[in-house]
Symmetry: C2
Subunit: 232 residues, 2 copies
Amino acid sequence: MATNPQISYSPHRSEVFKGLTGEQVANLVKEGRRIKLEPKNILFHQGDPAKNCFLVNRGRLKLTKLNEQGKEVILRYIVPGELTAATAVLKNWAYPVTAEAIEETDVIVWDKPAMMQLMRRYPDIAINLLGIILERIDDVQNRYLEVCTEHVDQRIARSLLRLMRRAGSKTPEGIHIDIPLSRQNIADYSGTTLYTVSRTLSAWEKKGWIQSGREQIIVTDPHALVQFSETG
Amino acid sequence: MATNPQISYSPHRSEVFKGLTGEQVANLVKEGRRIKLEPKNILFHQGDPAKNCFLVNRGRLKLTKLNEQGKEVILRYIVPGELTAATAVLKNWAYPVTAEAIEETDVIVWDKPAMMQLMRRYPDIAINLLGIILERIDDVQNRYLEVCTEHVDQRIARSLLRLMRRAGSKTPEGIHIDIPLSRQNIADYSGTTLYTVSRTLSAWEKKGWIQSGREQIIVTDPHALVQFSETG
DNA sequence: CGCTCTATTGATAAACCTCAAATACAGTGG
DNA sequence: CCACTGTATTTGAGGTTTATCAATAGAGCG
């Protein structure tokens, strides 16, 4: 059974701090508080007042959103080096999503005054942030387009590919997605049900496109999946 | 027949320039080029290299996105005072969407160097931009949630309400949406087909929730629509 | 070995799309 | 003022996709 590789990472290489010197980053990191999370710990809840923003140093977070009836979608997985809640904090809003650790996770925390001061002192940070947010918005917009215009199996293919690119590691059999993914998770990430996901993955396993075990996916034929995701 | 009211507006009041003096804004606006668009003119195309960003001064833009098979969704309508393509330009990306004028529209244009200089000189602009982008991302995320978890008629209700809040004006009969909206437009904005929209609106018209004519919608009972959009 | 959580699979039903055809509407030019 | 043309809209019938429900099997853990 493949366990997740420990990714070597340092905050200095995070996109947020691009353009700053190592010393500057070290100072900023010192100003932040550290938090350690266990799997299933909630970092923040949708609806809570947004007091802090977070940089993931190790581990992974799952960002989800609930509607009034309690149905859930997964908006994104946050991997090391990525920031979350950066902007909510600036607007004095409630967090629009919930963040839950899905493995042992270390985060660095800044509160709003720290963020504001940071950005005023180093305008590059605000500009970097803009770039990061743009990538997020592009990601959601693409997924919005997909969910509006494509069939479920295409969307499931795109979901797997997206997760593979974000958190894939090579193995002899293919590319392993280093995130524990239940059928329900994939469904919440693709806008469908676990039953449909199960049927679809079974079919792909027969075709030799993927291998899957309990909460584990290996993409054995990425090219076929890409092809399928684009043409149906 | 109701025509769109001419909304009185000045760039100085745009959220982008919050925190700047009137004189500063006047200088910035002077640095930008002006463009005048007729209905159906394309301001920029999805896939074109993003050279400029735009502030709408008068009129309305429709932002759309196409998938590989040519199916379209409407992501957003841009109304006076709003910026578009601000971030794409920073990343040297291609525009991720297409912007089309749906009425006579005036925009102010800045290119990338101007934007960068602007933000370096006035960090508040970058921070304001972050706030604006956050609202956009929140909007798309909400719509993503809706399209993943809700039924078409609920989504159509939410679409009408969203458009009503963004571009509604009071009339004796109810709140008129000041955007020409065909059934197809509403479908593209809700992730469904024009047929379903037509049937749904007919039903609501019988219930007295809306009145509709050719490309015109008046919401006569917003409360009922809200109620319906939340409970199904 | 039993408990719990996850995954599979079949049968059924509901929601929604697609296609086809008819109707309504606005604008144009005679 | 009217006929004509090009859209927009409505409505019905039929089919497909996908969700839902139910029951079973499998995996991991103590």
